[in-house]
C-alpha cells in the first residue's frame, strides 16, 4: 500500500495520503497540520494552542487543539505523532516548504554549486508564496520570512544560471524575482544582466525601460546610477 503522505503549504494548503488528495479537512485541523509542517520538530501542546488560538484562554485554546486533533480521520491521524505534551508531524511526511527552504539555503550557501538538475523545478518552488490567503499572525510571519528567503535565492539562482550559460532558465528566475517584488531594483538589474550576458541588448534595454516607467509611475523616481550604468552603452552606442 502506498503510504506516502504529503502536506503542502506553498500556494494553497493541500494534504494527500497514499497519493490521494484529502478533501474536506476542517479549517482548525488544516491550521494545525500547516503549523506543524512549518516546524521541523515536536512542538509543545501549550505552544501550539497559544499560537493557533492566541485570543482564547489557555483552557479554550487547549480544547481547540484537542478538537482539531480529534477531527482528523483515522488515516489522517497517522500523519501526526501525539504525546501527552507534544505534537509533531510524522517523520515520513513530505513537506514542500522544507524541501524549498533547503534548496534556497543551498543556493545561498557560501559554497553554493549549481547542480545541473536545478532549473525549472527550482524556479517553480521559489516562485510560490506560502499560504497567501491565510491571515493568522504565525502564518503571515512565516510567509514574509519565506518571501525574503526566496527572493534572495532567486537572485542567486539567476546569477548562477547566467554564469552557466543557461539563459532561458536564468531569465525565468529573474522574472520570478521581479514579479515577487516589482519595485526592487536588484531583481531588475539581474534580469538586465542576464539579457546582456546572452548578447540580447535590445531586450536588456526594454527591461530597463519597463523598470524606469514603473518606478516613475509608482514613485516618481528615476533608477539609480548603478542600474543606469548597465544600459549606458546601449543608450549611447
Amino acid at each position: 500500500m502506498n503510504r506516502e503522505c504529503a502536506v503542502s503549504v506553498l500556494g494553497t494548503f493541500d494534504l494527500s495520503v497514499g497519493g490521494q488528495p484529502r478533501r474536506g479537512l476542517p479549517h482548525g485541523s488544516q491550521r494545525l497540520l500547516a503549523f506543524l509542517a512549518l516546524r521541523d520538530r515536536s512542538v509543545t501542546r501549550t505552544a501550539i494552542a497559544g499560537t493557533l488560538w492566541p485570543e482564547a484562554s489557555e483552557e479554550h485554546a487547549q480544547a481547540s487543539l484537542r478538537s482539531a486533533l480529534s477531527r482528523l480521520t483515522e488515516v489522517e491521524r497517522t500523519l501526526v505523532r501525539v504525546t501527552l505534551h507534544e505534537v509533531a508531524l510524522a517523520e515520513d511526511v513530505i513537506v514542500d516548504i522544507r524541501d524549498a527552504r533547503l534548496l534556497a539555503h543551498r543556493l545561498l550557501g557560501a559554497d553554493a554549486m549549481l547542480d545541473s538538475d536545478v532549473g525549472a523545478r527550482a524556479i517553480e518552488a521559489l516562485s510560490v508564496e506560502l499560504l497567501p490567503d491565510w491571515y493568522d499572525d504565525w502564518a503571515v510571519i512565516e510567509a514574509e520570512e519565506w518571501r525574503q528567503l526566496r527572493l534572495h535565492a532567486l537572485d542567486v539562482l539567476a546569477e548562477q544560471l547566467t554564469a552557466s550559460g543557461r539563459y532561458a532558465d536564468a531569465t525565468s528566475a529573474a522574472l520570478a524575482a521581479v514579479r515577487a517584488e516589482p519595485l526592487r531594483e536588484t531583481a531588475h538589474a539581474i534580469l538586465i544582466q542576464v539579457f546582456l550576458a546572452e548578447g540580447n541588448r535590445a531586450e536588456a534595454f526594454s527591461a530597463y525601460e519597463r523598470y524606469r516607467a514603473l518606478l516613475k509611475a509608482e514613485l516618481g523616481l528615476e533608477p539609480t546610477p548603478r542600474i543606469q550604468a548597465l544600459v549606458q552603452d546601449i543608450q549611447r552606442p
Partner: protein, 67 residues
C-alpha cells in the same frame, strides 16, 4: 457575523542605495482579515508611510465595513 474584526498591516522596507530617495516600503493592508488584503502600495518616504498607517488605523476605527 464576527464579534469583532481584526486588521492587518505588513510593512516590508528596504533601501535602494544611490537613489535620490532610497527608502522603499511595501505595505499590505487589510482592515478586516476576514475579507483579505484590500490594498497594496509601495512608498518612498517616511511621511507617506506614516500617512498610510494613519489611514489604515482610521479604517479600523470606522464603524462599518470600509471601502
Amino acid at each position: 457575523m464576527p464579534l469583532h474584526r481584526s486588521g492587518l498591516l505588513i510593512i516590508r522596507a528596504w533601501l535602494e542605495p544611490g537613489s535620490t530617495r532610497p527608502l522603499r516600503a511595501h505595505l499590505r493592508m487589510s482592515s478586516d482579515v476576514a475579507a483579505g488584503f484590500d490594498r497594496e502600495v509601495t512608498l518612498a518616504n517616511v511621511e507617506d508611510v506614516s500617512s498610510a498607517v494613519e489611514d489604515w488605523l482610521r479604517n479600523i476605527l470606522a464603524p462599518s465595513s470600509p471601502k
